[in-house]
Each structure stands twice: as structure tokens, then as C-alpha cells.
Symmetry: C2
Subunit: 423 residues, 2 copies
């Protein structure tokens, strides 16, 4: 049977938001890409399976990135001195317009796909650009890199520069339907409907996307309540909407017909949260981006308490790092500053909570992903932390904390996605 | 003549807080370890000097770390879920007590010295532990690693656990004087007086250190106004002091007899700042540590406006990274969150300002350090940024921004300290 084997090593995964499961020198069974659970001793019925012994390495679930812009990887860590709307116009849109050139797209997307391959990320929700062919190329390169998840051709037909705007809602929708059809050839990456955000999409375009969603059942990704000027703009554009989320909802793109993930939610009012909870809309929490673009720090403690679906996003390139370990440590740091500077009623995130968000929390968007419990898809990363072990002994929990803060792609010595070995 | 040569490459350094000097494919002259300035064409009088051509690499001044605890490197990225005082008692003091064991000290300090050698840091102010021999070993290892600056044997004779406390003020002072004498054998590292902080030092010990300072002219390093509980404790301990800084000042250790650098200053009241300015006391701004330990975010904009002497500190291991590039990006991020969450009157730091603080700003503590202007000591790092160049062209300023956010020790291909090649 393909993708059927046993891994031996030190396993760490989230039992729930607050608790880790730690298994020193255990056996993880993978049957046709699905976890058969972790055992202290390998049961007799699995004795015939090939065992890969990863020694003293740590084996964690693959990480999940709920929000990233692949084309912006080429401009990461540049232009970080602006807020969202100026940053989009000055830096982002000019760079995204380059992806009409397939030579540029191949070089730049190639760098991004390679970075993801080398990272601990196994699943992702990724924005392309409005270019159909470029977005197909991105899907091809990510598929080669072993990444699973969703990629979206971006829709934007208004309030965008001439050089980066779809001609009309009608042509945008036709192009999107053609792209969906053409992306049928991929097996690991699937299309996701991707209106950039309310300001850049006409009502006609949004209604058309909602129709496509009803017809195809595809999920939706977009942005929500990231920056104060953006929110004020949405209020002007949609005077009848009660809040930003309601603007999506009125147009049928807020989880009423299928899964939706919204990036940021830094300044979401209570009613917006309630609607997200009702609709099962996922929050992609992008702490680094929210610091870089001076957007603020989302009240993640509230979202956890309210039981919202939530995961972490790198938000490349509002964030400059593809690493979801970095997203974990950034989300902890941002929550600490928010606690100290703004609201001591909302406790900072713990290591356990940040790890949960980057694995099981975000993994839920992709199905049964982000855990080693029996029945979950087998995504795993094997981490050799010997580069930063101190002279004294550490517990597995202490080693995990160090991996979150200190590890990078050099430390990843193995990676499995749905049981397929990709590194 | 030793340490006399020419470097060719792309030079970037701070003209002042707000302005960079950029020289594409220029020549930097080094005469006996001192900069002879940068030239677009190499003057005839230097034509006989050996030229090292660093191609398209970036050449920056060596970075300056104004605050780090070498023994804590072994526990970095562990125990980040506590505030200062609990963290000290639970994690830090037990680890520091290990440095009485010279075998442990050699292993752990060896890792730290190697990390500094590989980093872009050329100058540092570093805390050891209270152990004299361990601190001498640290100086030896840092000297071998080519680092220049100051190392302090820590003084602490009260409010500390039995296993990590000097027996008496008298024995602490005798031990300190012996350590100063014994460290006379080092040429790159010099001793710095290091009372841990007010709570852990008796008045008798502090007065004795002030006497040593008057006699030796040595500089002083300590902690100031980092955490709210710590500040409240100092207020209890020193009811006559007007503020935390005044407590040091009344004991003669606040820059009245020589240079002093105080880490953190997150919650310094106005009078404390005024006294620091009057006394020329340096602020070591440690943004990452202040996030990790939930201390807050120092108002660095105020400190810049007031013209305080200031540089950056890694604060290993309140901070988990030795990198002063990381300290630059963290100080920008923290200032952005502070601006958004607490005080929109204080603008976030720019790339230029953060770079200034990590080079020329902190460099002033060490003398003429942190610039390539003629007359400065020649500290330089050569950075090959090709690992993260995008498919499109970048300006030198854009490349610097990326180095600050994206580079790590892998990208450092050359390093000079006072004209001595150490990498």
C-alpha cells in the first residue's frame, strides 16, 4: 500500500488549545496517508510495516498557513514603513502587475514554492494575482513542492490601478470560471474563490463569485477588518452594511454557502464576530503583518474564548517570513504587548495555544489536518534541533518552545504531506 | 603596517539618525584599524595598499549590542511565559548557578561566543554571572571570537537565592577587584562594573562599586525601569530615591564618574530621563526582551527627540536572538504597536533610525565606533544577500531593509573588528 509506514521518534501535537500530547520515542503509524495513531510500543498488527527511525528528532504535525500572497514574496521586507492602503498602491500593486510576464512569474513563484517546500508548512491558503496563467503556474510549482491546500486567482475590478484591474465583472467571472476548470488538473492544490477585498470588487463581481460558489462549493478567502482606514473606506462603499463582514455576507460570500477564511480581523466589532461564529468563518491571524503595517494586534484571546475557528497566517508579504513557527512566536509577542499596552483583561497567548493555532486550529480549514490522532491526514515535519541544544537536558516541551522561537528551514530533516514524503 | 588595507564593495552606514550614506562600488580605506574614509575612486596615495574586492556584497559597520547576558544564552527561548521577577527566580537564577562548574561554563559560553563570532556583532556589553573564574573564561572565549567591548562579573549580595548570591558586600568587592586585576590580560575585552540591579545589591556593595569606579574609571552597566513590579520593588527598597535612576545616582553609579549603560528604560519617568541626559547615561533598548517578558515597549521616539544616548540590546536571554539586525526589526515592530495601541503621538521608528541605533547610536558607548567616517575604528561586516534577492532589481536602501529583516549568520561572509579580520 502506498504511503503506509511507521515513523519512530519524539512526537508532539496538540490535544486541544491548552494541552500538548507528548510521546517520547513512540511509533506513529501511517496507513495510506492517514494516521493510525501513536503507540508507545508498536502493535503486532503493524510489525510488517517499514519503520523510519528519526532518532532523537522531534516530529510535529505539518504547519498550516491560512493566509499568504505568493506574488508578494518577491517584495517581502521592503516598504514596511507604510500602512495598508499606501503600501498596496506604492509597493504591492506594481509588483503584482509583473506576474503577467510568465518569465518573471516563473522566477518569483519558483522562489516562493522553494521556500514553502523547505519550510515546516504542509498546507496553505494562498493568493495569486489576477493573472490566470500566472496563477496556474503557481499551482503547478506548489504542487511540485509537495504543498497541499488552496490557491486563488485574485479578483479585482474596481478601485485598483489601470495596470492591475480586471476589465469588467463579466470578463473577471469568465476568466475565473476558465481558471477553475483549468486547475482541475492539479491533485494537491485546489482553487479557492478570492475577491481581493470589498474595496476592489464591484457588487456585480461579488454576486457572480457567490453564484460560482453555490455552483461549485468552492471555499472563499479574503481580507476583513485589518486597518482602520480600510474599514472606514468599506463603510463609505457599503453604507447599508452593518459592518465589514456584513458587506461580504450581503453579497453571499461570508460562509453561508461553504467554507470561508478571512485574514486579520484586527478591529472586528462584536456583531462581526458573532456572524463569523454563526457562519463558521475562519480567522487567519497574521500577527507579524499586523505589526509591520501598523494595523494593530487582534484580540486573539477573545476569539479563543468565543470559540471562533482560527489559525495563523504568514501574510507574506505584509509579513516577511513564510515560517508558521515565526507566526506562532509573533502571535505570542503581539498578544503580550496588547495585554500590556491596551487591555490587561485579555491574557497573552501561551506556547500551547500558539502551537495549536498553527497546527490543529488552522488545520481544520483543510479537513482532518493538524494532529496525529487516528484518522487525521498524516502531515508531519521532522526537526533536528541539535543546532540549538544547550549543554543541559531539556524536556520535550522545552525543546518545542525552542523550535518555535529558534528553528528555521535548516533544521527540517523530513516532511510528509498526506503520507507522501516531500523532504 | 598591520590592519592596513582597502575594501571594495557597496557601503552603507548612518550619517545621522535620519540619513543613510550609500556608496555603490566604493573603496573603504583602513589604516592601522582606523577608517581613512570611503572614496568613489581610490586616491593615488592609497594605490599601494592591498584591495579586497567584495563584489556586489553589502558592507556595513559592525553592529553593537549594548546589553546581553552570556550565561542565559543556554536558556534562550525557554520560559518565555513569565514576567521578569518570576522568570528570574524560576529559570534564570538556576541556570546562572551552573556557571560555578567550569565544564558547564566552557560548553555554554563556547556556544555563545561562537554565536557572536558568526553574527554581525563586533562590539558588546555583556553580563557574566557572579562567578569570577567563569567570567574570566567568558572573556577569553569572546576575545578568541574577535569580539570587542565589555564584560562584567555580576554583583548580587541580597534578595537572591542562597545558591546564587555573594556572601557579603565585602567579599563581593574583594572578588570584583581581583577579577578586574586578572582581566588585565585581555586586550579586546575590558571589565565593566555590573551590579545586577538595585534589588539584588546592598547599599554597601553599591557604594563599594562606586569607589572602585572612581579609582579605575571603569564603566557601569545595569538594569533600569524594565518592569512594573520591579519598579514598585525598588520604590519599597529605596524610599528616599525620587525614581529608580535616582537610586543608582544616590549610590554614585549613574554616570557621575564615568560611562554607564542602563538596559530597558521601558517605564522611565520624565525626571529619570532628564537625569540620564544630564549624566550621559546610555539607554540599551531591548525591544524583543520587553515583548517576551511582557514588560512593554519603551518610548524610543521620545528618547530620540530628547537626544538621549541610545543603542540596541539583544538582552539574551530575555531576548532569544543574538542578532542586532533582529533587534532593529523588533524595535521597529514594537514601536509600531506602541504607536497604534498606546500613543499615536510617538511615531514608529524608521529603518534609518533602527539601523542608526544598532550601529552609530550604540557604537558611541565604545568610542568612535559604528561608522565608516574617517577616524572611526574600522568595524565592518560583509553581507552576501544573494540568498534572498528577488528577480527584480533593488536599490541599496531596499537591500539594506531586507538584510535587517531577512539576513542571518549564513549571509555574513566577512567581518572586521578594529581592522582585524575575524571572519
Amino acid at each position: 500500500m502506498e504511503h503506509t509506514f511507521v515513523l519512530k521518534g519524539n512526537f508532539i501535537y496538540s490535544q486541544d488549545e491548552k494541552h500538548l500530547k507528548l510521546e517520547e520515542q513512540g511509533y506513529l503509524v501511517c496507513e495510506e496517508g492517514i494516521s493510525g495513531g501513536i503507540y508507545r510500543e508498536l502493535p503486532e498488527r503493524y510489525a510488517h510495516l517499514p519503520v523510519t527511525d528519526h532518532g532523537d528528532a522531534l516530529i510535529l504535525p505539518g504547519l498550516c498557513d491560512l493566509h499568504a500572497h505568493a506574488p508578494q514574496y518577491a517584495m517581502r521586507a521592503n516598504g514596511m514603513d507604510m500602512e495598508l492602503l499606501d503600501w498596496l498602491n506604492t509597493y504591492t500593486f506594481p509588483v503584482e502587475s509583473r506576474y503577467g510576464d510568465m518569465e518573471y512569474a516563473r522566477a518569483a513563484y519558483g522562489q516562493y514554492a522553494e521556500a514553502l517546500r523547505e519550510s515546516a508548512t504542509t498546507r496553505a491558503c494562498i493568493f495569486g494575482t489576477l493573472h490566470r496563467e500566472g496563477t496556474l503556474l503557481l499551482m503547478e510549482l506548489l504542487e511540485e513542492a509537495g504543498i497541499r491546500g488552496y490557491v486563488g486567482k485574485v479578483n479585482m475590478d474596481r478601485n485598483s490601478p489601470d495596470y492591475l484591474r480586471e476589465e469588467s465583472a463579466k470578463s473577471a467571472l469568465a476568466d475565473t470560471e476558465r481558471w477553475i476548470e483549468e486547475s482541475g488538473r492539479f491533485t494537491k492544490l485546489r482553487p479557492i474563490l478570492t475577491p481581493r477585498f470589498i474595496p476592489s470588487c464591484s457588487d456585480e463581481l461579488m454576486r457572480g463569485l457567490a453564484r460560482i460558489q453555490r455552483e461549485t462549493g468552492l471555499p472563499v478567502q479574503s481580507h476583513l477588518s485589518e486597518n482602520l482606514s480600510e474599514i472606514a473606506w468599506v463603510r463609505e462603499l457599503c453604507p447599508k452594511a452593518e459592518h465589514y463582514g456584513d458587506a461580504y455576507d450581503k453579497l453571499g460570500l461570508f460562509g453561508s454557502n461553504g467554507r470561508a477564511v478571512m485574514a486579520h480581523c484586527v478591529h472586528s466589532p462584536r456583531k462581526e464576530l458573532e456572524l463569523m461564529k454563526e457562519r463558521g468563518v475562519f480567522v487567519a491571524h497574521c500577527a507579524q503583518s499586523n505589526m509591520n503595517l501598523s494595523s494593530g494586534a487582534a484580540p486573539v484571546r477573545t476569539y479563543l474564548q468565543e470559540g471562533l475557528s482560527m489559525g495563523l497566517g504568514s501574510d507574506v508579504a505584509g509579513g516577511y517570513s513564510v515560517s508558521i513557527f515565526r507566526a506562532m512566536s509573533d502571535s505570542i509577542q503581539a498578544s503580550k504587548l496588547r495585554w500590556r499596552l491596551k487591555d490587561e483583561g485579555l491574557a497573552p497567548l501561551s506556547v500551547e495555544e500558539a502551537f495549536y493555532l498553527g497546527t490543529l486550529g488552522g488545520g481544520a480549514f483543510f479537513g482532518k489536518v493538524g494532529s496525529f490522532e487516528e484518522g487525521y491526514e498524516l502531515d508531519a515535519v521532522v526537526i533536528d534541533d541539535s543546532r540549538f541544544l544547550p549543554p543541559h537536558m531539556l524536556s520535550l516541551r522545552e525543546r518545542l518552545e525552542r523550535v518555535i522561537y529558534l528553528s528555521d528551514e535548516r533544521d527540517i530533516v523530513g516532511k510528509y504531506v498526506s503520507g507522501e514524503k516531500v523532504v
